[in-house]
């Protein structure tokens, strides 16, 4: 048994009161604990942004990396030590902007990681510029005449790129979010959760109330192994007004990246002895 409080850290968290990041952190702590994972057996890797500071506020191994690169770092960690539970987290700018290619490639690779995007649809840490999920027309500090671009649809990207677990959560529904994070971590393969959340300071438009009026859990009869259904569900909401489905969109069991590596059948890389001897190979050069 692991108590969620083991993941607490004495620290001065600097998030604004009411920030959506708090809920994700609580959900993460509870999910890891419920799965019986000990803090020292887990690593949280993040990029740069308000959300990416999460490793500093939690008691678990952390790598607070550089903007957009949480997934490649997490991939290295996981491949080096497949016994660790590795979670990558970061903002919408981090994951869908500067790091988008890593996101798509990680989906296709089906590496056994959990990836949580704290999607506040704004650049929080840099004080309020438009992000890839900011609605068209939205006024931000970098788009004073309204954002000229359409937002991207991260769920659509994840499903079509080959992720084997795709979900949307909402920071205002902690019970559901916890469940999603727990399922994602337990999932074997690349598990992705887009978490809608307010940035109380810089995104005045998509407040917690705004979401509350629109979110609606996916019907329990949804067949999440059906890719077409998952795609049409993902198409249902484009970021504007309208019903926002939340829950698991897609989930299938596919071999993970590591399953294809016989190198890992005898244990994690980090546990291997460094006793390579290339003498025989050198003979080939004679």
């Amino acid at each position: 048994m692991v108590d969620a409080s083991e993941y607490n850290k004495k620290c001065d968290c600097d998030w604004c009161p009411g920030c959506g990041n708090f809920s994700v952190m609580v959900a993460l702590k509870n999910s890891l604990a419920r799965l019986g994972i000990k803090p020292h057996e887990s690593v949280l890797v993040s990029g740069i942004g308000c959300s990416s500071k999460t490793p500093h506020w939690m008691n678990m191994y952390g790598f607070h990396g550089i903007h957009g690169r949480a997934l490649p770092i997490a991939t290295g960690v996981k491949l080096a030590n497949s016994e660790l539970t590795v979670v990558a987290a970061g903002g919408d700018g981090d994951g869908y902007g500067i790091g988008l290619n890593h996101f798509m490639q990680s989906c296709k690779r089906n590496i056994n990681l959990t990836y949580i995007v704290h999607n506040n649809r704004i650049y929080g840490l840099t004080t309020g510029q438009a992000s890839p999920t900011t609605n068209k027309g939205t006024i931000t500090r970098s788009t004073p005449f309204g954002n000229p671009e359409e937002p991207i649809n991260p769920l659509l990207i994840a499903i079509s790129s080959g992720a084997t677990f795709v979900a949307r959560g909402f920071s205002g529904n902690l019970a559901q979010l916890q469940e999603l994070v727990k399922e994602a971590i337990a999932h074997k393969g690349f598990a992705f959760i887009d978490v809608l959340m307010p940035c109380v300071t810089f995104n005045r438009m998509n407040s917690i109330e705004w979401y509350r009026e629109r979110v609606s859990p996916i019907n329990s009869d949804h067949d999440f192994s059906d890719k077409e259904k998952a795609l049409s569900l993902a198409l249902k909401w484009n970021g504007e007004d309208g019903e926002i489905p939340t829950g698991i969109f897609y989930k299938i069991d596919n071999p993970t990246y590591s399953d294809g590596l016989p190198q890992l059948s005898s244990g994690a890389l980090v546990k291997k002895k460094l006793d390579a001897d290339v003498s025989d190979v050198l003979k080939e050069f004679m």
Binding site: E41, F63, H64, G65, R69, G76, V77
Partner: protein, 576 residues
Amino acid sequence: MTNLNWLIGGPAGAGIKVTGLILSKTFSRLGLNVFGYTEYPSLARGGHNNFNVHVSKNKKSIAKKLDVLIALDKNTIELHKDKMSSSGIIIYDPAKIENIEFPNIQTLPLPLKEVATECGSALAQNTVALGATMALIGIELDTLNSVIENVFSKKAKIVDVNISAAKKGYELVKEKNISLNCLTDELKEKIEPKLLISGNEAISLGAIQAGCKFYAAYPMTPASSILHFMAGKAREFDFIVKQTEDEIAAINATIGASYAGVRAMTATSGGGFCLMTEGLGLAAESETPIVIVNAMRPGPSTGMPTWTDQSDLRFVSHASQGEFLSVVIAPCDMKDCFYETMNAFNIAENYQIPVIVLTDKLLSESYGTVDELDVNRIGIDRGVIESTTSSYGGKRYLFTDTGVSPRIIPGAVDGIHVATGNEHDEYGEIDASSENRVKMQDKRYRKLESLQKIIPLPKVYGSESGEVGIICWGSTKLSALDAQEKLEKLGYNVGVVCFKYILPFPDSEDVRKILKRFNKLIMVEANYTGQFLGMFRENLLIDVDDKLLKYDGRPIYPEEIVEKVKSVLSGGENNG
């Protein structure tokens, strides 16, 4: 003649490299020194490709004058005929190239394709030329045949075809009674076979021997063959090779793997290194040991992808924002590629810093001979990795006298910490206070004190003192040594001062002592601005008397260095 300088040229896809390699290996098995240098344009088919094999008893590098030119097309003759030595011979197939004659060059038309077809496959035409080469020098075919057997070992029929093609080529030349008077004495002695290896192969083997368990890279010439070699050996030696989506992912995955406790490496060329620069700083700030190989080619931008130079030295030395310690090692030959890659891992882990192995196309993709590579010479030293932090309470970035904090690997029960690219306190928590910043930066730079002590001084070859000190770094050593030998024979008293460890710069007082023994100093490097010369002046506060800078993408030839030294000593034009 004491050496053979042989070149085969033709369009891409004509089997030029494999033919050059077979000849190279034949001579390395005969115990001679071989330097196999290849030129090819950045395209998959067509263009002009060539493979140059320089064979001798003790030369290290390439040479200008050609003794044998195998021309598979007319273009090859046009491009290389001016380099023929007075006794040189051009072999060509009159069925492909109309009969040619030059007043001062011997030509040897041979029906390469026809003979090869008779032997079973037109594809074996290059092997006919190899047999002919053996006959010209007067070497029995058994060594060549043994190499052919190894190279085509998977297909018995192809072995047979090539062995009979070689025999035919040999007989054709014998019938004509033509011979090339070279390597006669050299081949008389029975010498131990040597290893023939490329720089990239030696780097890869060094990494594997050093216990590298994770290699991530994105393809880029001239580093790609490390990826290919590593990928081929990953299962046998139980490590992971990941071709990532770009170089940004490659370096960050390397950092992640190292943070998780394994020895990790990535390799690229300048353009990829550009993308890696932010990760380089992350490795430094988070004190995560990594090894990065950068194989240089001429830039800027895409530049000349398949050519060589030494113009990334300043870039890799200063890359990424801020200030931090890193090590730049420029291997000077194939042996160095092996041993220095092993050293790179030890230094990276002992000092928890990024170490850059700086090579170039010339070294990475050329083949050279070495007597042996000793797998036991450099042991594995991982520095301080602790399984418990009980005595210092989980402080990953503990302030220590040496500046090196004990490393703790995720999974350790009491080692929980955050590694980060943000400035941080001893626990890894973000701390931008003035006091902490100064203490942390001081801590990281404190490593320099002991690091400086392990940075070897430049090595001197030839005369320890004398008229001229030729100063070079990295792969330029190869040509410099051959130049030194030539100059010595001509009666000049010269030495070569070769720098391999460049950053941190070797102890300046000791280096000046070495340099003082020479009357004149000449810097030789392959770039436009004299990048190492700048670092040399900055660190040593002295200047050179002249310099030879080459930046046309071609290697510096020993002959060019010889000319330079002669002109400096004769008080010639000083363009320094």
